[in-house]
């Protein structure tokens, strides 16, 4: 075996090993302090998008399905149960909870790519509405016990 192959293999193993160890460091992230600026994008939703009703408004399973989708795709940045993470604001703030379902759907679809939020139109429309249904079910962040998530079927 040639020396440069050995060096390459050892370097690769060290890198992957280091990353694996780092992956195990799963300290919960402290929620970010949110400024009003984090939510200004919500005000940019066009009227047509804002008034769109959620087709899953009365579907009791939608919030549960939305919770699984949220955990898979959104919790990495927005924190468990949307309490906010280091990279993205809380989704239990008044600005989000008071926004219409259509506004949240629009933001999820378009993303805010210049500020780091990816476009989520890769998820089918129905799944995006299910996530919105889950978000609206969370309600404002309870002050007394911020770690306890609200029930997804609360609303």
């Amino acid at each position: 075996m040639k020396p440069h192959f050995i060096a390459l293999a050892v370097s690769g193993m060290l890198l992957v090993g280091s990353l694996c160890v780092a992956q195990k460091d799963s300290h919960p992230e402290k929620p970010a302090k949110n400024s009003a600026h984090d939510y200004t994008e919500l005000t940019k939703a066009p009227e047509k998008a804002r008034v769109k009703p959620n087709p899953f408004e009365k579907d009791p399973d939608a919030a549960i399905a939305g919770q699984f989708l949220f955990e898979n795709h959104c919790a990495e940045c927005h924190g468990e149960a949307g309490i906010g993470g280091k990279k993205a604001p809380s989704l239990r703030a008044q600005e989000v909870q008071n926004a219409s379902s259509g506004t949240l759907f629009w933001l999820l679809t378009s993303g805010v790519t210049r500020k780091g939020m990816p476009v989520w139109s890769k998820l089918p429309e129905a799944q995006r509405w299910q996530i919105v249904r889950y978000l609206k079910s969370l309600g404002p962040k309870p002050d007394a016990n911020p770690d306890k998530p609200a029930s997804p079927t609360a609303r």
Binding site: A22, Q23, P118, K122, A126
Partner: protein
């Protein structure tokens, strides 16, 4: 020369490592192997992918080509990827065939009916490259009949530009790619295309965590081929392929893709079987920062 056992040992090591330390789950990939859709990698996420193509060859030896792909979401509007390519030609040899570095940019801020993505790639590959990651110009089956020892003597430095257009409509994703490739040694621009359409088997998410829910499976079809070059633009002496595609996005973050591929004219290989496995590492960029003492 790259021995298959060495490649397999590295792949096995990576697989065991990934399985032992599962990161946060996140995957919703389209099933295409050649066609690009309009979606970029999530910011600071790394996707490690392995793709493999087994191809038949008339008047020559069958081959197995493979690439390792590292795809990183630099920002929400810029994804960068690095590829290492190799191939085994049966009754001949296994050779490393080159590397590629590609970048994709999403120029528009909002979602539209048609969403453009700009693609720029530099590749340094040798003549034994049998990846078929794209088909361009006058690529035909007989090009692959040259023995590896002779073919790898030719080194190509190429610039590839693509316009990627993607739309979503009633659960369907429709993507169109138009590509042009320039060998920097002064050869003419070559052109090609790739088209794809796909849809998840179910559009609604299931109210339970499951591996086999229909929403996790995406099926579709893609078609790709060459369009000649600046000297002779058109379909003459070009090859074209049609391929059903399927992807399985597992909640654990793994994605499996498979695609039986059929040649559509006499210049095309008759049949290829293509498959790939991908694993996404969310927050990879933050991990690297952490490793070097930075704050994520």
């Amino acid at each position: 020369m790259l021995r298959p056992t060495r490649f397999l040992a590295s792949s096995l090591f990576l697989t065991v490592c990934f399985a032992l330390f599962p990161p946060a789950p996140r995957a919703q990939e389209k099933p295409y192997i050649v066609t690009y859709d309009q979606f970029l990698e999530e910011p600071r996420s790394l996707e490690v992918e392995y793709f493999s193509t087994f191809g038949t060859q008339r008047d020559g030896n069958q081959f197995h080509s493979y690439w390792l792909e590292l795809e990183y979401g630099a920002t929400a509007w810029w994804t960068t990827e690095f590829y290492l390519d190799a191939q085994t030609t049966f009754h001949d040899s296994t050779v490393y065939t080159g590397f590629r570095w590609e970048n994709r940019f999403r120029p528009l801020r909002r979602e539209h009916f048609i969403n453009p993505v700009l693609y720029v790639e530099y590749e340094r590959v040798n003549g034994a490259d049998k990846l078929l990651k794209e088909v361009e110009g006058h690529d035909v089956e007989s090009n692959f009949a040259v023995p590896n020892a002779a073919a790898r003597q030719e080194i190509k430095n190429e610039l590839e530009l693509k316009l990627i257009l993607g739309s979503n409509f009633k659960g369907w994703n429709v993507s169109e790619n138009f590509l042009s490739v320039k060998n920097l040694a002064g050869e003419p621009w070559e052109f090609g295309y790739a088209l794809g359409a796909s849809r998840p088997l179910a559009l609604k998410g299931a109210p339970k965590r499951c591996n086999f829910c229909p929403q996790n499976f995406v099926a579709g079809v893609e078609m790709y081929g060459g369009l000649g070059d600046t000297a002779s633009f058109g379909l003459r002496e070009t090859s074209h392929y049609l391929a059903p595609v399927v992807a399985w996005n597992m909640p654990s973050g793994w994605t499996l893709r498979a695609s039986p591929t059929f040649g559509l004219n006499d210049n095309s290989r008759r049949f290829m079987i293509r498959w790939g496995v991908a694993k996404e590492f969310s927050g990879f960029g933050d991990l690297v920062k952490k490793l070097f003492g930075g704050r994520s």
